[in-house]
Symmetry: D2
Subunit: 331 residues, 4 copies
C-alpha cells in the first residue's frame, strides 16, 4: 500500500490504448497528426486560443516556459519551497542561463500579492540588483493547497502592473481543477503559460506546456529542440495527452486521487499540517507512530522529524485509503 | 513505402512487451529495478565495466556525454557535417555552456587522425584561442560510413596523446556493429562515452549513454536531472533498453535494416554517393527521376539538387526494398 | 565631506607614478614584465606560493575565482547579504553558468561553521538538489566585521571536511589586515583563492585574484580572456598592484581609513549597529537626524529607514572625520 | 622598432591629462559627469542619437553588443577569420550563452551580401538548425581592409530584409574613418551597434560601445554589470573617451598610423598580400628575409610560413617606418 508519490504510479489503460494506436507511420518530431491536433484540443479545453508543446518531464516544462519570459540577466519570483527552487537540480539556472530565483514566503507554499511585493519591492531598480521578469506559482502548491480564481487574478493583476510574466507550475493541475470544480480556464486564470502535468495523473511520459501567448511558444519551440527534448517519435507523447483529455480521464483520475486523500484527511483532522485540497496529506506524527504504520505495510515519506507525507494517486485503491485512514485514526 | 527516416519507425513488439511488463509499482526516477540492472547488462555486452544512463533523445545523450568532458571554455572536435554541428539546434552550445565545436573535414563524414590534427594543430596554445578538450565521432557517420576498429584505435590514440576525451555518437550504433560483425566493444574502441541509440532501431523513447569512466557518469547524473531529462517513470525507459538487448533484438533489427539497404544499393551501384555500410543509401538522381520514384509511391528525402537519401529501418519490408531496388534500376 | 563610499575615491599618488612609469613598450595582455612579477611579489607577501591574475573589478575577481571551484550544476555557500548575492547584478549566475548561491545567515554578515552547516546539512545528497562545491566569505564582511584567524580556520576545516573550495572576497582585505594587525597570510587563512581589492584602497582599476592553488589559476586564465577581462595594456593593471604593495601603501591606506572610521565610531558608540572593525560605520539615526547631518555638508547613504552608513577612505581627511564625529555626537 | 601590434602602444598625452583631470570626487560606476556626457558627445560625432557605454576591452564591447541582438538559441554571421571567431577565447559563446557563430567567407576578411547569403541560405528554417539573428562585420577587417559606405549599405539592407541585427567591430574604427576620409557616420552606416576602439589608438583602457538603438543599450547596461565590466571608477574610462574625441585626437592618431603603413606599403607593393587601407601591412617574405629584418632590429609577427605582419600605431616614429620601408625594399 504505497503512498510515497504519484510520480511513479501506473499508466492508465486509456493511455496504453492511445500509445498502441499511435504506433503507425507518421512524420517524426512534432510533425505528426497527434501533435498537430494539440493546439485545438487544449484551446477547446481552456476556452481560449493556446499553443501546446509536449515535453517529457515537468522540470523541462517549467523551465522551457520560464525561459521564454526571463532573460539571462533577470529573475523569477517564486515561493521559497517551490519545486523549481528545491527539487529540480538547478534546472532553472541552466535553462534560464543563470537567471535568478527570488524567493518569497507564504502559508502553504502559496504566494500572495503581498508576499511578492515584500520580495520584490526592496530590489533597487538599478543594474547592481537582479530585476524580476516573471512570477511562477504552483497550482496546487507543494503542500497541496489550491489557488482560488480570485487569488490568481490578484497575482495576475500584480504581474500586469509590474510588467512581469506569469507562469503556473501545474504538475498536479488536474487535482486543482477537481478541487475547485471549475472550468480549467478558471484554474489557470491569466497566466501566460502553464505546465500542465499528466504523468503523475496516469500518463507515462508526457506533460503539456500550454502557452496562452503564441510568441512565447515560438521561442519555446527552438529551446525545446536545443534542450534535447524534441523526441523523434513525438506522436507517442501527443497521443498520451489526447488520451488523457478524451472523456475527461485527467479529471476523473484527479477526482479519484483527491477523494482518497480526503478519506485519509478525515481520519486525522487534528494532525493535519495543511488543509487537504488536492492529493497530498501532511500528517503530524512521531517516529514511533510512523514505525507503527510502516509495520502495517504502508509506504510513505517522512516529512521532517515530526510528520509524514501521504500521496494518493489516480489508481489508489479505495480499500487501501480506507485502511490507511483507519490505521492513522488508531494511532 | 517510406524510406524517409528510421527515426519515426514503429516500435518493436519486444519493446511493447517490456513496457507493459514495467507497468507495476517501483521507485521513481532511476531508482527502479530495471534502471538498476543496466550497468551490469551493458558491462556484459561490452566486456568491460560501464555505467549507463538512459535519456529520451540522442541529442540529450550526446550533449550530456560531451558535457562531462569539455569545460565551458573548451571545445569539441567533430566532423563539419556531424549531427551535433548540423542538426541539434545548438544543443551542444547549451549543454556545454558556450563551448565550441571545432570542425574537421573527412570523406564520408568520417574523421581521421590527420583531419583532426589539421583542425587542431593551428590552434595556438594560448588563452586567445579555444582549446580542444574532446573528439566526437559518429559511428556510423552521417553518410552511413562505418569506422573500422583500427580507425577508431588510431583516433583514440591521438586523443590519448593530446589529453582529449573521446565521445562516440552511436545514434545508429547497432547498424555499425551489424556491418562490422564484431563484438560491440570492438565497434566502440577506447571511447570514454558512447551515445548508444535504440530509438531509430525499434525503441520508443530511450537511448543509452554508456560511460566507460565512472567519474564521468557521476557528473552526468547531476546534469541529466538539471536538464530535465530524469523522467519520473524511468522504468519505462530502462525496460526498453533491456528489451532491445534481450535476445539481441538490437542486432537483428540492425541486420535487417542493413540488408534492406544493401539490396537497394546493389540496384544502383554506379549511382551511389557513398559506399553503403549501414542503413542509409545516398543515390545520385535527377529531379525527374525522383518524380518517377515518388509517382510509384516511394517516400524519401532529396539530398541537395542531384541526389536522394533512402533510409531503411528495422521494419522495412523486404518486398518494399526489392520494389525500390527495381524502380531505381529501371530509371 | 563625502562618506558615501570608498569605491570612487581618488587614486593614490604612488599609483599615478607607477602608471606613468609603465607607459613604455612591452608585451600586450599579461605578457609584460609587471604582470610577470606578480606571482613572486604576492608569494612573498603571503609567505607561500601563489599565482596572481589582475582583473578590472571586484565582481570579475570574485566570479573568476568561484568559477574555478564550482561546476555549473553546483553551488556556492555565502552569506545572505554577501555582495555576490546582493550587488553584483547576477554575475555569479553568469560566470558559474547557472550554479546556485546557497544563502546562510550570520551576525554582522559573517558566516560560521554552524551557519554553514545549517544551510548545507538539509540538502539531500541526490541529483534533485543542488550540491555545494565552495564557500565564499567576505573579509571584512558587508558590515565591516573582520574574521579572526581562528574563525577562518574553523570554516576552512569545515570546507576541507566536506570537500568544498574556499573563496575569500577581500574587496577591502587591506582593512581587515590593518585591523587584525597580523601577517596577510593569517588574514586569508587556508582559502583557495582571494579576491584582493585595491581599487577602494587607492587604486584606479586593478584588483588581484590570488590563487593558492596553481591549477585553479590555470583555469581562471582561460576564463578571464573568455570574459573579456584580459586587457591588452595589462601592464597598467599590474603596475597598480605593484605600486600598492611597494612600501606598504595598501596597508598604510587601510590603516588611515580604519582610523578615521574609529574616530567616527567613538563619537556614537550607543548608536552603532555593528562594532566598527574596518572602514564602515553603520549608525542608527532618524531621518531628521540625517537631514541635520546633510545640512552640514556630509554625504552618506541611508541604510534602511533608521540608519546611515558612513564609509571612510584612504584619503579621508582627518578634519572631515573629526567634523563628522562632532556632528553625530551633537545630534 | 616594434611593429608587433598597436594593442600595447603607449598612451597619448591627451589621455594622460584627462585621466589626471578626472581624479576628483564624483559618483561611482557610470554615475559621474564624464560618463553622463558620452551620449551627447558621440551623438554629435555620428550625427544621430546614440547611447554609449564604456568597456575595458574590445572583446567585452563586441560581446556585450552582440548579446543584445542574439538570443541564446540563435546565431551571428561573421567572417571565418573574424576576431570574435578566432581570437576572443570563446567569449561570444560565453556572453551569448551558447549561441553560434555562422562562418562566411570573403576576400580580405570582408563580408559581402553574397557571402552572407551563401552561409545563411542553406539553413533550413526549422528548429533543428540554428537560425541567424545578427551579422557582425569588422571595420577595418582583420586584414586591414575597409568597407566602403555602399558596401555597408548593401549588408545593412540584407540585414534589414532578413530581420537581422547589424554589429560592427570597430577595434580600429578610427583607421577606417581616416582612410575613407568621410564622416564617422558614413563609416558605420546603418549598424545597430558599433564597438568603437580607442585602446589601440592611444587610449589606456576604454572602448566605447555605441548603440544606435536605445533599447539595446538598456539591455547592455544590465549585461555589463553582470559581466563584471562596470568599473567603480568609471570616470577614468569616460574621461579617456572624451580626451580621444576632443580635438580629433582619435582621427589624427589614426591618420598618423595609416600614413606610416602606407610608407611601408609603398616599399613592397609586389609583396603585399592585401591592399593596405589601414595600419596593417601583410608582406610576403621568406623565413630568411624575416631573419634579416629582425637582425636589423625590427619586431613583428610571422604570418604563417611565408609572410609577416607589420602594424603601425599612433606613435610609430616616421624614422622607424622609413627604416622599415628601406629594409624591406632592400631584401
Amino acid at each position: 500500500m504505497l503512498f510515497l508519490s504519484d510520480n511513479a504510479a501506473a499508466v492508465h489503460p486509456a493511455v496504453w490504448d492511445a500509445l498502441k494506436a499511435a504506433d503507425e507511420p507518421d512524420s517524426p518530431y512534432d510533425g505528426d497528426r497527434w501533435s498537430a491536433a494539440l493546439d485545438d484540443r487544449f484551446s477547446q479545453l481552456f476556452g481560449r486560443p493556446c499553443t501546446v508543446l509536449w515535453a517529457g518531464t515537468g522540470t523541462a516544462a517549467n523551465c522551457l516556459a520560464l525561459a521564454t519570459m526571463v532573460p539571462p540577466h533577470g529573475a523569477v519570483v517564486c515561493h521559497e519551497e517551490a519545486h523549481i527552487e528545491m527539487d529540480e537540480g538547478g534546472a532553472p539556472g541552466f535553462y534560464l542561463h543563470g537567471a535568478k530565483l527570488i524567493l518569497a514566503e507564504g502559508t502553504g507554499a502559496k504566494l500572495t500579492p503581498e508576499a511578492i511585493r515584500a520580495a520584490v519591492d526592496p530590489i533597487r531598480d538599478d543594474v547592481h540588483q537582479v530585476q524580476p521578469h516573471a512570477i511562477s506559482i504552483t497550482q496546487p502548491s507543494e503542500y497541496g493547497r489550491v489557488y482560488r480564481p480570485d487569488e490568481i487574478a490578484a497575482i495576475a493583476e500584480l504581474a500586469r502592473e509590474r510588467g512581469l510574466g506569469l507562469h503556473m507550475d501545474g504538475a498536479r493541475f488536474g487535482n486543482a481543477v477537481a478541487f475547485l470544480d471549475c472550468a480549467p480556464g478558471d484554474a489557470v486564470g491569466a497566466a501566460d503559460a502553464l505546465s500542465f502535468g499528466f504523468i503523475k495523473n496516469g500518463g507515462m511520459s508526457a506533460e503539456a506546456i500550454v502557452f496562452f501567448d503564441q510568441e512565447l511558444a515560438d521561442v519555446a519551440r527552438y529551446r525545446r529542440k536545443r534542450a534535447g527534448h524534441l523526441q523523434s517519435k513525438g506522436r507517442f507523447l501527443a497521443a498520451q495527452l489526447h488520451a488523457m483529455l478524451e472523456r475527461e480521464v485527467w479529471l476523473d483520475n484527479a477526482r479519484h486521487a483527491n477523494a482518497a486523500a480526503q478519506e485519509i484527511a478525515r481520519a486525522c483532522e487534528t494532525r493535519l499540517m495543511h488543509p487537504v485540497e488536492a492529493n497530498e496529506v501532511f500528517v503530524r506524527c512521531t517516529a514511533d507512530e510512523r514505525d507503527v504504520l510502516r509495520a502495517q505495510g504502508f509506504g510513505f515519506y517522512d516529512w521532517g522529524a515530526d510528520a509524514a507525507r501521504f500521496v494518493t494517486a489516480w489508481n489508489t485503491r479505495g480499500a487501501d485509503a480506507a485502511a490507511l485512514a483507519r490505521a492513522i485514526a488508531s494511532l
